[in-house]
Symmetry: C2
Subunit: 261 residues, 2 copies
């Protein structure tokens, strides 16, 4: 980890490929996943820029959304609206089954999902497998109100590939699996594919539930259709798409696949 | 009405104050109503720019959202997502009462609300009062699938100030009033204030219902709180806030006040 240097008067370095492409002092989120549109946040100061083994990691102080975590140019969370995402991806599955005890989080390196899972008193064990150590470290340094999730003694952090982790899990281990992934370009791509959902179904015991980040109906209907089709083949119980509003995510909303064994 | 001239290779004129402030060829929506953030759409070609008696009017062809109507730099509708707004602001009130017959639309010059109101077979009379004639003309020229609402023979168009129009309405005239306004900066400001809601309540007969554009809970909670407080004093029936997602509106969502007499 190294902090950003060479700030100019706006607190912006000249090194970020994401700041230079718009108004001076604004971060713009441009991606082939949402062509022809961009959401921009005014930047007060870049707090961190680094390149991990998997992706570019950036933290900046925005003018009106608090601190912002960015991976490969895509906003992962802002202090102002992270609650909407973390609460929905965690409480929708955990409130849908009685007394969840063992929970696995794939991704979610910022710790926000852990924070919400910890609120369930029935939970005895929370395993998390995050591929990128730098995301964990940066979150602990800059987002203490999110990374507070790591402080719960029930949490066991594994740094590694979620796909490989799941293959080594004994069948029927978990009551709930929560997949808090980035978009299906980059390190999270496999987390949207059928073999991964097969592994999740195997890792859940009967009556267990999975919740995965599942993109926006306004932007990614083809991705969602494929996930739904796969899940209908794999999961014997219910297969549902849920969603919530998150203003700093593309289209202002984000969905979740909720499936049960 | 005059069409835009002097297009450059991107189809962008140098005359628009909204295009020049960002990436060449992108429209950015920047307003004190949502400080520190901006949503941008890639511009294929500017189709119209004009200045009416009330506001700047612009239409452009976007890369991925179809044609876009912009008033004073703020997106009013895009071909891709206008349905979400028009359907909710019209069908929520009209489906909440039995057999609506007389409906008044304030604003809504693009015709989209008229299109949705027309789908209710019980409706016998649809009055619309839009302040800006240019909005009506531009919509008919560039958004035929929206302005189609004007073709219904039950529609009576009044060009004028909605506040003044309502004062001249006989008490108890309408079953439903729909206020399809722009934001409370500019010509629509009065449409968010208490005297206007008083006039609406007077114009509705007992059991009537009003639906007004009421901003986003993520961005304008102080505006919404004030509207709710006013409506609770004015309306004897229910007072509710509803909302839907519209990706090209700030925060990706927009709300409606639904009140009954």
């Amino acid at each position: 980890m190294e902090a950003a240097n060479h700030n100019n008067d706006n607190g912006c370095t000249n090194e970020s490929p994401y700041i230079s492409s718009v108004l001076p002092g604004w971060f713009s989120e441009i991606s082939p996943l949402w062509p022809g549109e961009a959401h921009s946040l005014k930047v007060e100061k870049i707090l961190f820029q680094g390149k991990s083994d998997y992706q570019n990691v950036m933290v900046f102080q925005s003018s009106t959304y608090g601190k912002v975590l960015v991976l490969d140019g895509v906003i992962q969370l802002t202090e102002r609206d992270e609650c909407a995402y973390q609460e929905m991806i965690a409480h929708l599955p955990l409130c849908s089954i009685p007394n969840p005890k063992k929970v696995l989080v794939i991704g979610g390196g910022d710790g926000g999902v852990l924070r919400e899972v910890s609120r369930h008193s029935s939970v005895e064990q929370i395993d998390i497998c995050e591929i990128d150590k730098m995301v964990v470290e940066v979150s602990k340094q800059f987002f203490p109100d999110v990374a507070v999730g790591y402080e719960d003694p029930r949490v066991n952090l594994h740094i590694g590939d979620g796909v490989a982790f799941l293959k080594n899990v004994a069948a029927g281990t978990y009551d709930a699996v929560i997949v808090d992934s980035s978009d299906p370009i980059g390190p999270a791509q496999e987390l949207f594919e059928k073999p991964f959902f097969d592994s999740i179904a195997r890792a859940l015991h009967p009556g267990g539930v999975v919740s995965t980040q599942a993109e926006s109906i306004w932007l990614h209907m083809h991705i969602i259709e494929e996930i739904v089709a796969n899940c209908r083949q794999i999961f014997k119980g219910s297969v549902n798409y849920a969603w919530t509003t998150v203003p700093t995510y593309p289209s202002g909303m984000i969905g979740f696949m909720l499936c049960s064994t």
